[in-house]
Amino acid sequence: MLIPYDNENHPVTGVYNAKLGIWLFLASEVLFFGAFFSTYILLRIGAGGVAGAWPLGAELLNVPLATINTVILITSSLTMVMAWASLKLGKVSKFQIYFAATILLALAFLVIKGFEYGEEFSHDRYPSTSTFLAIYFTLTGVHGLHILLGVAVNVYHLFSAKALYQENPEKMVNRIEVAGLYWHFVDLVWIFLFPVLYLL
């Protein structure tokens, strides 16, 4: 069955359907994470103002590991956009290298996050320990789940890409663009999480 505007742009929206869908999903994600950020602001002000009883993230959390994770996630955004550009230019093997690198970087992020959590737990710091740790584990946990979901989708694309590209190259390029938009959004959320939780 031929799905209309699967590849070509819709005359009303100006984009193909999947791109419209992912942008609407990302708009809902802005509100999802927005609610958590609002909660963070409220909890911090509620703890006696911005300079009140709120602990400095750097005193409780591992800033060097979080900085490495920031570098990893930004690098994965570059490899993701390069994967899409390579596929668009018809360089399938280059696409596979960049895309596999994106997945490996995402896994590295999760492993480091696991070490960070382990370190917190070893110091008897749990979500129930304090309000700061509750919002820290909630925000980073939800973000980590987004990373995990992205990895699952990207692994599927990595193994199915070549066959689908030979069958319908434009559709595969669009799929990678949509996966990329999600991935860059996850990176964007971390760009704000990092200073808010670790440095302020």
């Binding site: 742009n9 942008w23 708009a27 802005v30 609610a35 509620g46 570098v71 938009l181 200073p195 440095l199």
Partner: protein, 116 residues
Amino acid sequence: MSAEHTAEHLQQQVRVYFIVFISLMVLTVVTVAVSRLHLPVGAAIAVALVVASVKGTLVAGIFMHLFHDKFPFIFKVLIFSAIFFIVMIALFMFGYFDTFASERAILEAPALEEPH
């Protein structure tokens, strides 16, 4: 309409992607370095959020192609999302500060006269 990414345009864009990547790395170093200056809390928050916003704009504008795509519909959706986000924070804040205003009003209100 969404602008087409031609092969020639993509070759140019690849250079831009690497420039943006280096800029993001530099800004990450700036974020960490500024946090070590131990600025007053207000100034530290302002600097960190400005740097994060610049980084976010680079990711959304270049990596997510928002600067390239001529797609007014998604801008409308994102503007609505941003407005709802601001309203959400404002409602929390209004609710929080109103609690104190109400408590003060109760404490400072003149005592009601006993009914005769």
